[in-house]
Amino acid sequence: DVKVTQSSRYLVKRTGEKVFLECVQDMDHENMFWYRQDPGLGLRLIYFSYDVKMKEKGDIPEGYSVSREKKERFSLILESASTNQTSMYLCASSLSGQRNEQFFGPGTRLTVL
């Protein structure tokens, strides 16, 4: 079974802090994604990556950056956390090819105070 893990289930940070969210997948998937999930808005794509060191902006990249130095790991970085970044963050991975399903991690609930 594909396993996608995220470094923390719950995280509390202060405004202005630099925040790292880590995601690791163990099935050699080419594609990795970061979403944020907010009530009434569904999931919105922040960034995605097709390969190591490759990254593409999603629909809401402002205030975020990403890093993919190894195929299995995709990091989401909040350079200076703000209260409007309080949300659930979901990581996903998939094999290359449109019909391949995305496998999701358990999510990190981030609270910025």
């Binding site: 994604f33 808005l41 569904g42 996903a92 090819g97 995305q102 999701f104 991690g105 358990p106």
Partner: protein, 115 residues
């Protein structure tokens, strides 16, 4: 741009009954995929069912089936013989062949199963 709309924020159904969750989408592409994902409380999101737009036959996975109406851009999910374990947030999503491999999600429908 693609959009996906789920107009039912919440639904409830009696155990063993059938429920239908609605989803409409908008795309200018002729070839695309549609998905229903399930997110149980405090658990990971999993794929429920997938439909290729070029296939006229509605996809079915055990108790889950879809009603895919391409002309109307509608993609509803029917859950038969509802079970307590079906309680979850359900998300409809679309993905186009021409674009990047990005899913566009609807707002979600929270399904409650009444015993």
């Amino acid at each position: 741009a693609q959009t996906v709309t789920q107009s039912q924020p919440e639904m409830s159904v009696q155990e063993a009954e059938t429920v239908t969750l609605s989803c409409t989408y908008d795309t200018s592409e002729s070839d695309y995929y549609l998905f229903w994902y399930k997110q149980p409380p405090s658990r990971q999101m999993i794929l429920v069912i997938r439909q290729e737009a070029y296939k006229q036959q509605n996809a079915t996975e055990n108790r889950f089936s879809v009603n895919f109406q391409k002309a109307a851009k509608s993609f509803s999910l029917k859950i038969s013989d509802s079970q307590l374990g079906d309680a979850a947030m359900y998300f409809c999503a679309s993905l186009t062949i021409q674009g990047a491999q990005k899913l566009v999600f609807g707002q979600g429908t929270r399904l409650t199963i009444n015993p």
